[in-house]
């Protein structure tokens, strides 16, 4: 078997980057219910890819299939150059998985959990201890090393879980909702850790999340998954640009100034209460400049000016809204059953 990575043309048709994860037409259903309805993914090496979607969109199923836990009904996939169907053992040798529910042995201490991983990766005594100490230090878990899993806080447990995943030095890491249920501070810490992983070690990460800010913060590319289908894919910026709603917001000190400005901008919407004017905009610099120029030309003084681009929340709601009714209907049907 050639171990070289299968080249897959990227959608932009530009530079071809080797894919760490490549997926075509992945399908999975449980009984009547279709969980994945033909997923295609191309994730270049050394990047973070976020699968974004509401609960039940198929995020976890995608990860379980790619991590060899669940067999797909149809479709092809390769992870780290290993074909998922033909060589699952090869896939297992390059991946690390941190699941939605932390997989730490609760009766063992953090240190023992790490050594367990070292033993299962056949690292040898010395190397196992060295790597465990290094990870404990890096994740600030050294003080908790002798505590059993049951005694850990949510944030520490996630860190311990990720540390266990890293003991095997995986090239491809699956993070299934790594910060769900964490307090804001622990979330920040996890983000920090995840970012450093990519920067320092060049690993590839497939992240699933239902938090838009998390995808925005961490991912190079984002795919929005809804009802088992990818409804959009791109960088955070590309996704934001895809939907309307951007505008330039101009606030005035006096009602007269607002009235004068309304005369200048025909397409704008005025809010008398807050003395603001919303001028539709794509957020580009020339557009911004022309707004300022028009105000200057009419000698209208503005108190404040800000540019509002749609955030991922707008994108998310716009993209997943269409199938929402369908999903609601499905839920209803399930409840009847």
């Amino acid at each position: 078997m050639p171990s070289s990575v299968m080249p897959t043309s990227s959608r932009e048709g530009g530079r071809r980057s080797p894919a760490a994860i490549s997926v075509q037409g992945l399908r999975k259903s449980y009984g009547e219910k279709t969980v994945l309805d033909g997923i295609d993914l191309h994730i270049p090496e050394g990047t973070v890819f976020a699968l974004l979607g509401p609960n039940g969109a198929g995020k976890t199923t995608t990860v379980e299939i790619l991590a060899t836990l669940v067999r797909a009904d149809d479709g092809r996939a390769s992870v780290g150059g290993h074909d998922l169907a033909a060589d699952p053992a090869g896939v297992r040798s390059v991946i690390g998985v941190t699941g939605q529910f932390a997989a730490v042995d609760e009766l063992l201490t953090v240190q023992e959990n790490l050594i367990l991983m070292a033993d299962l990766h056949h690292l040898g005594r010395e190397e196992g201890r060295r790597r465990a100490a290094e990870l404990l230090d890096r994740f600030e878990l050294t003080e908790a090393a002798a505590q059993p899993g049951t005694a850990l806080s949510g944030g520490m447990r996630r860190k311990a879980d990720l540390a266990m995943t890293l003991m095997g030095d995986p090239r491809v890491i699956f993070l299934d909702e790594p910060t769900t249920g964490l307090d804001p501070r622990s979330r920040r810490t996890m983000w920090e850790i995840i970012r450093r992983l990519v920067d320092d070690q060049g690993v590839t990460i497939l992240l699933t999340t239902q938090y838009l800010d998390e995808a925005d913060e961490l991912a190079d590319r984002i795919a929005v998954l809804d009802g088992g289908k990818l409804v959009a894919e791109g960088t955070a910026e590309e996704l934001k640009r895809r939907i309307p709603g951007g505008h330039i917001r101009v606030r005035f000190a006096e009602p007269e100034q607002l009235a004068a400005a309304v005369q200048v901008f025909e397409v704008a919407e005025a809010d008398q209460e807050s003395l603001t004017l919303h001028v539709p905009s794509d957020g580009s610099l020339p557009m911004l400049r022309s707004v300022i120029d028009l105000l200057d030309a009419a000698s209208i003084e503005a108190a404040e000016l800000s540019v509002h681009t749609p955030d991922l929340d707008d994108v998310f709601l716009a993209l997943t809204g269409s199938s929402r009714r369908q999903a609601d209907a499905t839920t209803q049907l399930e409840n009847v059953r």
Binding site: R71, V97, A103, L108
Partner: protein
Amino acid sequence: MSTLALTMTDSATMLRRNLKRAIRYPSLTFSVLLMPIMMLLLFNYAFGNTLGTGITAMGGIGDVEYIDYVAPGIILMTATSGAVATAISVCLDMTQGIVKRFRTMSVSRAAILAGHVVGSVIQTMIGLVLVVGVALAIGFRPNANALEWLAAFGLLGFVTLALTWISAAMGLVAKTPESASNTPLPLTFMPFLGSAIVPADSMPSAMRWFTEYQPFTPMIETLRGLLLGTEIGNSGLISVAWCLALTVAGYVWARVAFARVTRQ
């Protein structure tokens, strides 16, 4: 390393994990010991007099004390009691995220089960030694020599191995720890319906048929023979055959159940 060597290494790692877990969570181990020790005390101090007199009147056990008659059967019950604990711990483990983690790693699949089974056998064997100790402390006086003791523990180990594989399978097919603790319960009653407490001859004829042909009766008779010098006859051979058959059946069942649980 070869596949076999890897399986052995991983099994040893899993065994270490299971033994550590047993030490950290000793209540399950204690519950294994509780049943046989309570039985020993109950049948020696509370029922012993009446049962002993009754059996002697039937000419059942000659001039042996009742504790000597009942101890081998109750020692064997430690193995059935251990089976319940095995089913619970296997079921609990399968519902934990860590087994999912093992399955995403290059870990030998057989090692996950092997670690459990070997760990449980060791745990139960330690329990057996303790129960024998309690029996000796309250008046059990076997006349076995070293070789006979060795053979007795050999038989107990084989019985434990057979029951552990079967209960591991029960733990794998159980959906909840509660049902995992219920499924092996019939096993714990089997010695009562064997010759553990009273001789098979003393039972009603319909029950006697079951008693004579169920696996625990020859096992108890062999143990009694080894420890007290009573007649063994062909019970030894039948016991070994039963153990072998139950081990193979339990092993196959467990492997099939494990494959089914882990393939979705």
